[in-house]
């Protein structure tokens, strides 16, 4: 099989990150966006822009959906109907029903569907999963994930507080990681704070505190924050214990390079971007390689869990999830 052909849909911030990663992963990319920005983005990376979704999907191995969440369903269904594999920026959908429809359609059609949950490709989280999956922590008992970020621009879209508002995306990272390491979730409780409905101005503050109870008996706490100021831009931390021990991580810990003073800008080093590792793994799967570390069911589980958290925060109740097909 030759070079993997990818149709990138969208031309915003996430599209740029994914495009950069696809190019570095060796894929051939065409860009389509209905907002008139495709040409400029494509030119910047030396790839081509196309003028319609149909032209984008024609003959490609995969589509990568980087548009606002509201349009994921329509584009994904079009791709699945055309037999084109789907990579989709998280969340797959803002609604569980829509996400189920997409996943059902993909499974019926035998079309691969890979959600872009990039934190799974970040080295500390990948290592955590290997430790837990290999039994290195013994039987998993308790996990705490904290994701704190600053959102650099106003929030577009129309996500009500009831549906989780600005916390939906952020909370998805934590619940996805908890689900990844400890499996199915049977109960979710959350408190959401702040004026979280979108649209919202830049610097809007929100905090979500969720507690997940897994079918295995393990429990997880997810704390998800948007901060008013860009200090630090993002901080992730976790602590996970099992019968075999405890492992923890904080992105504030010193990394390979740390410079101070005016010279700091010149010495920035972050290693390979998780996006590159992610797109490489997806590209290898499209080329007949092994299945990636996540698939359609993980996309659906993450949507179910974030929606359950939002519902709990709104209703004040703990939300019970059915065990069969549970998230």
């Amino acid at each position: 099989m030759g070079q993997v052909e990818v149709a990138l849909i969208g031309a915003g911030l996430i599209a740029r990150l994914h495009l950069d990663a696809w190019v570095l992963a060796g894929a051939s990319v065409r860009v389509y966006s209905d907002d008139g920005r495709a040409e400029e983005l494509a030119a910047e990376f030396g790839v081509r822009a196309v003028g319609s979704l149909g032209a984008a999907l024609d003959g490609v191995d995969a589509v990568d959906i980087c548009t606002p969440t509201g349009s994921h369903h329509q584009i994904a269904m079009a791709a699945i109907a055309a037999g084109v594999a789907v990579v989709c920026e998280k969340p797959l959908s803002a609604s569980t029903a829509e996400a189920e429809e997409i996943v059902d359609a993909a499974e019926r059609a035998g079309v691969p569907l890979y959600p872009a949950h990039d934190l799974r490709f970040s080295p500390p989280f990948a290592r955590l999963h290997r430790l837990v999956a290999s039994g290195g922590l013994g039987r998993g008992a308790v996990a705490r994930f904290t994701v704190t970020g600053f959102h650099p621009r106003p929030w577009i879209g129309q996500v009500s507080a009831r549906a989780g508002g600005i916390l939906t995306d952020q909370m998805l990272h934590g619940v996805d990681l908890a689900h990844w390491i400890f499996g199915d979730v049977v109960r979710v409780h959350a408190y959401y704070q702040g004026d979280i409905a979108t649209p919202a101005p830049a610097g809007t503050v929100g905090v979500g505190t969720a507690v997940l109870t897994h079918a295995s008996g393990a429990i997880s706490q997810i704390v998800s924050r948007w901060t008013a100021k860009q200090l630090p831009p993002i901080r992730v931390a976790f602590r996970v214990s099992g019968t075999g021990g405890t492992v923890d991580y904080d992105s504030e810990w010193p990394q390979e390079v740390r410079a101070t003073g005016g010279a700091a800008e010149k010495f920035q080093y972050h290693g390979e971007s998780p996006f590159v590792a992610e797109m490489r793994e997806f590209a290898q799967a499209f080329a007949g390689g092994p299945e990636p570390r996540l698939g359609a069911r993980d996309a659906l589980a993450a949507v179910r869990l974030t929606q359950a958290a939002a519902e709990s925060a709104w209703s004040g109740r703990a939300v019970e999830l059915p065990v069969k097909g549970a998230a």
């Binding site: 408190y191 704070q193 008013a228 214990s241 405890t246 109740r317 703990a318």
Partner: protein
């Protein structure tokens, strides 16, 4: 100043005995207690009756939980100031009776919650009161040290986090508690080794507490909670147990938080002022922990 430590707790006795002007007395018919008292150079009597007859200025209550009410009431009866460990009692009624007895006797019931006595925490409290993080939204507290009792993580760890939240919120009474727990690591049903507690206060503040067992980072001085106070303009992290030296896969604290607590307590007794969480705070913590236990059992939030 004469201070009774009841019952014998070597750490408390040693730390108090090192303090200038403090005369420690311990009680117990047991030869081991007598021998330990001799070794530490403190006074020893055989019974509690004899201790209270000595009219100590303060009593540190470290006994098993079931005997704390009796000890606190007797201390109040002789006008002694009281420092009592968590929990004050098993049930809220006993704890409230202890608070009432101390109030009636005009003595202060102080709860032994070391991090609350830290001078750094005073700065954190004041800074938050002065809007240093903007409007306070959320408090994260993690207390992950090895299990100490058969009661489990909720009893052992949650009260110390709750005291810090309580101090910052000025004694606000929680209105809802949700908790989940398991005993996977302890391997003993009924002894929870992992627990998360989410507490909501009427002001809208939420406390997210992790009181799961974990390896000790500081075995010598004991562990204290790691706190993050999150406001809409910023956040502040606090530990009463900062690092002094690292090594041997552990680290040493700058000071033993219990030593700081006892120094503050003795100074407060000497000067006739109040320091640290009071008995009412102890009752509020007890109520939240009991609600957390109920919530962990039912899987539903508990309204207070």
């Amino acid at each position: 100043m004469k201070i009774a430590v009841l019952s014998f707790d070597e750490d408390y006795v040693r730390l108090l005995a090192e303090m200038p002007g403090v005369e420690v007395v311990v009680a117990g018919p047991d030869d081991r207690v007598r021998a330990a008292a001799d070794r530490l150079g403190v006074a020893h009597v055989d019974s509690w009756d004899e201790v209270f007859a000595l009219r100590p200025r303060a009593v540190v209550v470290t006994s098993e939980v079931a005997r704390r009410r009796d000890l606190v009431e007797r201390a109040a009866g002789v006008g002694a100031q009281v420092l009592c460990e968590h929990p004050l009692a098993v049930g809220e009624a006993d704890a409230q009776a202890m608070v009432d007895a101390c109030a009636a006797a005009g003595v202060r019931l102080t709860v032994a919650s070391p991090a609350c006595f830290s001078p750094a925490f005073a700065v954190v409290r004041q800074g938050i009161a002065d809007s240093g993080v903007g409007e306070l939204l959320t408090v994260h507290g993690a207390f992950n040290s090895p299990g100490r009792s058969r009661g489990g993580a909720l009893d052992d760890h949650a009260p110390y986090v709750l005291d810090l939240v309580d101090a910052v919120l000025g004694g606000e009474v929680a209105d809802q508690v949700y908790a989940q727990a398991n005993s996977i690591v302890s391997g003993q049903p009924g002894t929870e080794s992992a627990a998360f507690v989410s507490v909501r206060y009427p002001s809208g503040v939420v406390a997210a507490i992790d009181c799961s067992w974990g390896p000790s980072v500081n075995q010598r001085a004991g562990d204290t909670p790691e706190m993050t106070f999150v406001g809409d303009q910023g956040s502040v992290e606090f530990t009463a147990n900062p690092r002094l030296l690292g090594g041997f896969d552990r680290w040493e604290a700058k000071t033993d938080p219990r030593s700081v607590m006892l120094t503050e307590f003795v100074a407060a007794v000497a000067e006739g002022r109040a320091v640290g969480p009071d008995g009412a705070a102890g009752v509020r913590a007890l109520r939240v922990v009991r609600a957390a236990r109920e919530s962990a059992r039912t899987g539903r939030p508990v309204d207070l």
